[in-house]
């Protein structure tokens, strides 16, 4: 599956990553090489083989629906770039 600049542009947009035109063409070269290696997977017969999403085949553990954490908003917001009155500040979204 050949990779084109439009694929890199689409991925960059989905990943919210600002990529210049020069960088995009470098990434096309790098990612094409990597995906060429990855394409070796297509030669493996995986008929009837289930995907392995977790190395120990474990399933999500459930716990009782109880409050176990205290409110530590102030402490956790200390590492935020911009906060006010306990809220995270971002540029205006709705005019």
């Amino acid at each position: 599956m050949a990779l084109e600049q439009t694929h890199v542009r689409r991925a960059a947009h989905l990943a919210r990553l600002d990529v210049s035109d020069d960088q995009a063409s470098d990434f096309v070269d790098d990612l094409s090489q990597i995906l060429a290696m990855v394409d070796q997977l297509q030669s493996v017969d995986t008929e009837g083989v289930d995907p392995l999403y977790h190395p120990l085949d474990a399933t999500q553990r459930l716990r009782a629906d109880e409050v176990t954490e205290a409110d530590q908003r102030e402490r956790f917001q200390r590492c935020a770039p911009a906060v006010e009155d306990g809220l995270y500040l971002v540029p205006r979204v709705v005019e």
């Binding site: 960059a12 989905l14 990943a15 995986t46 190395p55 530590q72 770039p81 540029p91 979204v93």
Partner: protein
Amino acid sequence: MSDHTVTSLAAALKNGDASSRELTSDYLKRIERAEPTLNSFISVTAEQALAGADAADKARAEGRGGYLTGVPLALKDNFCTQGVKTTCGSKMLDNFIAPYSATLVEKLDAAGSISLGKTNMDEFAMGSSSESSFYGAIKNPWDLSAVPGGSSGGSAAAVAAGLVPAAMGTDTGGSIRQPAAFCGITGLKPTYGRVSRYGIIAYASSLDQAGPMARTAEDCAHLMTAIAGHDARDSTSADRAVPDYAGELDAPLAGLKIGLPQEYFGDGLDPEVESAVRDAVKVFEALGATVRDVSLPHTRYATSAYYVIAPAEASSNLSRFDGVRFGHRCDTPDDLLDLYQRSRAEGFGDEVKRRILIGTHTLSEGFFDAYYTKAQRVRRLIRQDFLDAYNEVDVLMGPTSPTPAFNLGAQKDPLSMYLQDIYTIAVNLAGIPAISVPAGLSNGRPVGLQILGSHFAEAQLLNVAHRFQQATDWHQQRPAFAKEIV
């Protein structure tokens, strides 16, 4: 100081032959002298360390304290450490003071060990040479023109140079074992789920695992006892008892069945590495083990599967770095989209961007089944290879890396760097444990023997590695650099 081990320091502290303050001060001096050359630390936390050392000495004087009380060590900079800058080697987190500690850090604190600082690493643990750190490349103490391996290169270099007796690392595709091999130390990647991932900055969540890096298997056993165990805060943490790792070190190896995967001795393996590994296997035969060839036929697809699965998980994990709640934020964003896009473009380095883009692409509509689902099917086949092999043998052995440490700047493109990990990646895909132990030198650069075990067989791996270290002295070799620091 460079000859000390965790075990020897613990004995000295217990017998009153040394205080933690003396040891901590001595190691801090070594760090100060070595760091302008090595660059193995991102942060040195001298003040906290000395305060911790005094508390440890007081605890010992009052008859409290355990095996590790007062023993200095270091943490890779992807373990969140409350009140301490935790960067993951990235500009993105250059301003991040962790508001809480990883479970591993809490467990080591409870055991009384003293962290001297946070070690340098490949950015977001993505790399095999430690050259992708925002804080600059690290040098290998055995040869300053060589890389220390990666991504836990700072932890490995610091231990090899005797700046700390041990350090903690993480391993997603070889990031404990390969730098351990390149720096001539011992590094254990435990079974997936054996050590809690809570508070470790995530790279690929179904592959990440933390473990000890030290001079000896005996040291790793004592450190594993402190860090292993179930943690309700990590949903994939294994809920099973932690064995007495140190208690099983001396078990005899007579009758041990060793398998040599033929795929680990193929094209691309450096002849001197191969001969060192084969010599190591003979040592085990002399200790009463039997050796046979085995096959792991899907090994050749491991790198391909890894470079779908790891970037896919990374692209998801790294979406949290959005310039809003923590980490780098760009100046004067036009709007919210601009804030996200420029904060991420400025905060992440090229290798991180590459993996985010691969992961986003392979997970996107139209490509998901062909890449992601296919890679997870192949992953099951890779794990089955190991399960089949462990029906025939107890442990597998081979090289940790196809070559000794390569030179700084030697891997010119991403793909040639990725292929450095051909012997380590399958272990993470299968979730099994593996340990790298020093087994020789090639032109003055260390060679690592990798020993692979079945799920939760860490005690056996440590036993096998310890018996090897009782019979050989490769782990006692020191680089000239370590001896020159006074």
